[in-house]
Symmetry: D2
Subunit: 129 residues, 4 copies
């Protein structure tokens, strides 16, 4: 979300009068953990691999870890991609899917997901001096 | 997601060849818990009231509980609304917002959020007979 | 967590020297959504009913909604109960379970889960005057 | 949770008669994202660094990523540690804290958080052959 005074003025007025016409945030970091339900086995690695392949094709910046996958970009793009991951698994035969999404947006600065880790690591590095 | 055999065939082909062109699910239940960060007080009730007013104006089906708010509708509509809640609070001066979203989609039946509670309550009611 | 000056002094010293000996919070509100993985069907209502029966027997204050169940009490009691819900379903044959827990603690006041909803509803009620 | 037939028999009986006496799972993977509320700035890196220092002192296996920190161990140990992270920040003056925890347990095999990533990466590696 741009924070120029003019745009802020417009957004504040819109927030008051027409909040359902507001744009979604222009940047966010979203981390999602997708769980297929009613699959024959307790393994989910095949489904998660399908998700990774879709993310790779999409061109979005992403990073998988053991408890989910983090993506960053405009709100609409991130949420559309996660929805497409649901659709992809549905198309592959998974009848029910539950995801947990942690999503953050901020207007004070642009911060990618790698910056967040670095900010903490910089603080911890000072401990060792 | 429609499950007619023809549409399923198209979606399966698309999932294989062009997954980034897949539609998002036509129905979902999304429960979100929004947390403003860097606000002067530990109270968040003013922000949550703003969210409720936006949801009311939007016309979506929603239900607030103590740990979040549940909405149901097409994936894109639900996720756009949650993004607009972020934008609304940003426009009101909150610089950083973190939300947790639990979102589920299924292809075997239409199930609204009230149906989910009822299915469990029906089972529990049998205990008392 | 008690906030008497004496206790706060002890806790601050402990936080600095022996953080792994700190007590857990004396009060929290925890909302959890439990998902069984690798079950034969996409329905989870039988498992959620089992969870509700355990909570009822436990005597804890709880409230089920469509996206989870909210409990309140001391941290250790709440987390032990959620762990027992996992063990209960494992004992019933579910091999894998994933839960999402939203848990909050605060030191400025005691606030139960019903108080949180009331604080927002009071604000919204003023709109109608 | 041990799955020897004898222990399973005991646990199943306990689940039926005395579920509130069940042990919590002997192993789990828990990923948590902790958010301080009502802090003067939108930055949370100082608080997250405090959390990392506590985890290091505890001796638990842990891994920080941009959307949280993953730990693995017995349920009670993991949940106690996350509670101590809340207490540590409370002792440091943060009045309110909200955490999102994704926690999984399974009885079919021991699987650490690194194994989960490896299982997916092994599948993706086959794509490149």
């Amino acid at each position: 979300m741009d924070t120029s005074p003019q745009l802020r003025h417009v957004l504040t007025a819109m927030a008051d009068k027409e909040p359902t016409q507001l744009p979604t945030p222009s940047a966010c970091v979203a981390d999602f953990c997708l769980v297929p339900i009613g699959t024959p086995t307790a393994s989910v690695s095949a489904e998660i691999a399908d998700v990774q392949r879709l993310l790779k094709k999409s061109g979005i910046k992403y990073s998988m870890h053991s408890a989910g996958t983090t993506i960053e970009g405009p709100w609409t793009e991130c949420m559309t991609l996660i929805g497409q991951c649901h659709s992809l698994l549905h198309a592959n035969g998974v009848v029910r899917i539950q995801s947990d999404i942690r999503v953050g947006s901020r207007t004070d600065k642009r911060q990618g997901f790698e910056d967040k880790v670095k900010a903490v690591e910089d603080l911890l590095a000072k401990d060792e001096r």
